[in-house]
Symmetry: C2
DNA sequence: GTCAGTGCAAACCCTTTGCAGAAAG
DNA sequence: CTTTCTGCAAAGGGTTTGCACTGAC
């Protein structure tokens, strides 16, 4: 995923990039439809955290391109294939994180803002043994923070 | 909160215990109504993780005692007052943890089961600096696990 | 042409809300 | 008596579903 925001400015490059994305999707066993490519384009423009709603809004910024159902289907599919990471910190909505390298999060409970903590900024020692018959499906470390001036 | 499950068997003790709970609630600035005491009784019988739904079912096990709205109001109030900890691991519902000592969680994504990890079983080093203008509101560490035989 | 993917709207489910009645002090 | 709390039922809001249509290959 070497696609960058700057590429969007030139059409020929955009087409090339779409082809790149298409082959990336094929590589993980995803049929690259128009909608999926467009959603991937938005998500992988840079490492970011987006809700389904935000993806929907961006995809349809210049006229309707994908429906709500397709957004949810695609995000779920991408998550299952490991292209994005679901971040569950806010009971009201799921965030999709296009940064799939190991890292942690600050979550501002006042603003709903989610920001990254590089993996090596935090070290986990004495890792607990997993319960018998289970295997790891990921570790989430969330630092919940509050804006210092916020009312309680 | 020294209330234990065994106490429920004797009525006189139950009454005493209700008074205990009432004063505990007053201590943190909560008016001890019938419903709140009953909810507290259930939650603090032992350290446990319950969804609003589960609390509702238990409270009303022997006839209706509290409504859904009251359950949500009370759980939210208890959380604000620090009597329970909200655990956000499942996008579909919030868990309320009556163990407020520092600890972490296993979350089995297949079964929805939530289990404790004692704080000292895991050590966090190199803690990141909080973003300027913010203060901590808690740290959540969740080990997501899968039952080893589960289909993917 | 076939099968997978998409769109639409309705259904779902947990949670919140508005407001009248009940309880706490 | 006053203020806070509770109950009911309806509304809210993110997510899922059912099914006919469309697009990928």
């Amino acid at each position: 995923m070497t696609y960058t925001h700057a590429m969007e400015t030139r059409n020929t490059l955009k087409i090339d990039t779409d082809q790149d994305i298409a082959s990336q999707l094929r590589k993980v066993g995803i049929t690259p439809t128009q909608q999926r490519v467009q959603i991937a384009e938005i998500l992988f423009a840079r490492p970011q955290h987006m809700s389904a709603d935000q993806v929907l809004a961006l995809v349809n910024r210049d006229g309707p391109t994908a429906s709500k159902a397709t957004i949810y289907n695609t995000l779920g599919l991408f998550a299952r294939k490991g292209l994005v990471r679901e971040v569950i910190v806010d009971p009201s909505k799921v965030f999709y994180d296009s940064n799939t390298t190991i890292h942690h999060h600050f979550f501002n409970v006042d603003t709903g803002e989610l920001t990254d903590i590089p993996a090596d900024d935090l070290i986990l020692n004495n890792m607990p043994e997993l319960p018998p018959g289970t295997e790891s499906a990921g570790i989430d470390v969330i630092f919940r923070i509050r804006s210092r001036d916020a009312r309680h």
